[in-house]
Assembly symmetry: C2
Homo-oligomer: 445 residues x 2
Amino acid sequence: MKKNSIFKVQKDAWDIFLRGLHAVDPFSAIERNVKLTGSILEIEGQKYDLDNYKQVIVVGAGKAGATMSRAIEDILGDRISFGHVNVKYGHVDTVNTINIHEAAHPVPDQAGYDGAQIIYDILKKTGEDDLIIFLLSGGGSALMPLPAEGISLVEKQQVTNLLLSCGATINEINTIRKHISRFKGGYLAGVAYPSTLITLIISDVIGDPLDTIASGPTVADNSTFDDCLRILKKYDIIAEAPGSITRHINLGVAGVAKETPKKGDPIFSKIQNVIVANNMNAFKAGKKKAIELGYTPLILSTLIEGETKDVAKVHAAIAKEIRKSGNPIAPPACILSGGETTVTIKGNGLGGRNQEFALAVAIEIEGMENTVIASIATDGTDGPTNPAGAIADGSTIERGKKLGVSAVEYLDNNDSYHFFHKIGDLLISGPTNTNVMDFRIILVV
Amino acid sequence: MKKNSIFKVQKDAWDIFLRGLHAVDPFSAIERNVKLTGSILEIEGQKYDLDNYKQVIVVGAGKAGATMSRAIEDILGDRISFGHVNVKYGHVDTVNTINIHEAAHPVPDQAGYDGAQIIYDILKKTGEDDLIIFLLSGGGSALMPLPAEGISLVEKQQVTNLLLSCGATINEINTIRKHISRFKGGYLAGVAYPSTLITLIISDVIGDPLDTIASGPTVADNSTFDDCLRILKKYDIIAEAPGSITRHINLGVAGVAKETPKKGDPIFSKIQNVIVANNMNAFKAGKKKAIELGYTPLILSTLIEGETKDVAKVHAAIAKEIRKSGNPIAPPACILSGGETTVTIKGNGLGGRNQEFALAVAIEIEGMENTVIASIATDGTDGPTNPAGAIADGSTIERGKKLGVSAVEYLDNNDSYHFFHKIGDLLISGPTNTNVMDFRIILVV
């Protein structure tokens, strides 16, 4: 009987995840946010009369691009004049009008560059009478690479690697990358101006910062060419950086190359940026499912970062407290938690942050009854592995022991994949064509 | 105005802590749990008629011992025949009947040994007609050192250091330590038998495991001499360990030295173990104060462990989510969180886990308005420093910059004390004569 009950709880966790995932599916996300009534397109209260526009053009980039395209076609139909969206190889879908252009991710390739050039040419030709719908999702930056003139993709990659190797922060790297692009950091908005532009965004970044998701192509930037020069000097890499890049930055400092557009720039006057799906959307839906299944739900936070195994300890502490004292909520309890943690790799095993989380949490909840904790990547791919994540319960460690696998050893070797593969508790969803970071569930019944 | 309001929130945090601290003060703790009506002593529903006992004897050990003694004297008065309690140097209080015996902590000294010997002699002489009240609190193990016969304090310390240096787990170390003691691991219960024994415990251990707090002198033990031998073999330290200790363990394995008493042993039939104060008691009281001050309170967990700066990130993520979406609760919100984190020391600065937590959390909440996060050691001493902890808000980092101190650099150097000393946000309570681990407060208004 106990065995049956834990299976039921495991199934509940999976069902809660699926409900959440459904809410952030590109199709649901666009349907929820984009309404067409007659010729009136309404998005977050803002109305556009399509009869006022000569052309409705769809462009975009990102791993969810193909399904977002299908969704927007489903709503706008032949209102769409034409379109071009860069997607990751294989991430295709059935579309009619919009051209789906496959390219490489996470390392950009020539196909991505060619597709970005097509988007650039389309935007350059649009005018005041055109409405552009820009579909943006995770991977959009790498899938739409368009360095400033005179800079090659390889040189751009070189300076990124150089910055990484000398310990530059992600913020510093992005400052440089925005300034050597023709799209990032709001530059794309300048290319599209004076068209009307609506950016529909599936957010895969903690806190949904518009200037960070896909490097903020349609959002004002705060950083400057002066900052870029300061960063190159700080890490003493002016000599090492590709000449084309230092030259471009120096031109920017001299006021010759154009600065990233700043807040208040008129090019942003005709732009609406809309987050159509994020981590919280998934949790709100998951929460409803949890209530249907009889759980008291609590959304802990969508903003969780930190070393995976320590974050797991805090989650285990909450699960144990639920059992011990009914705090922060009494059983049957469902805690939902999101964001994206990091793994400091020390071993040479295989795994992803979600599987590592599940393994670390399993060690902490060993022996606890009627408790299930799952961690799942909403894009269906946890790190360099096939599964989306893994599921842990009070018997995980014991079952591992019986099969000759030690959780502590596998965790030390960052080999969560092989641990869960062995005990059969990997969670496999297949590619989901979306990404709103991670979905963690604690169920204590 | 804004400045005034953050001062108000800081004061609220401190007041919530003080209310919590009051509830775990040894005096409040004993008053809450021990009732005397006529000759009837009632503790957690269990009744003892003091008229049935020839003597009521108070013994004990721990940093809270003196104030616990004063509290039990306040209730039992001249019903107490005599008493002897080992405390840390300087941790004294005004008592009448009970002898307060000062000794060294955390490294035991001869005074501790002498005091433990006195307790041993007292317990040895008691009989069926005697009621013993045993006062136990943090530090009780080190303050009441009584190795098995033939083993010196120095040898006991040697084997502990040896085990630590070869990476033995705390569980393995405790298994050995219990088996080479005359008190730990339930041995004390055997010495006191057949007296009636009530152990009143202030818990400074996560989850209040009775067999771990002060090494469980009045609780059954699970481990065996066979385990001890296995551990010595595992780390290959049989040759290195002091001869007196390997000899004692071998005598145990051979059935000559007495095994730690196990569950079901009749010596436990007349023992009541009672946790009179723990982390949760502090939070329940703090929660009431938070409600009085107009906050919606949520007790997250009293069981939180993990690397301090990663635990801080999770707490910051919760604070930010409260502000962003009103989850897990809407502002004005008060999250209470306990347990005890660890710090992996990489720098050579000064600090404690609570100050490090406050510094790490300050970095994460930089710029957030009307948010205060404090972390405080309930014993009033955070690590090897004077303050109990520190308090962070959205302006902490900026104020540091203005005074020329970089939070990131001070955190990297584990120098939280000097950072908060510089900006004036240390929290100083003085010694509290109690310890129920840490008290963290998030206030978002």
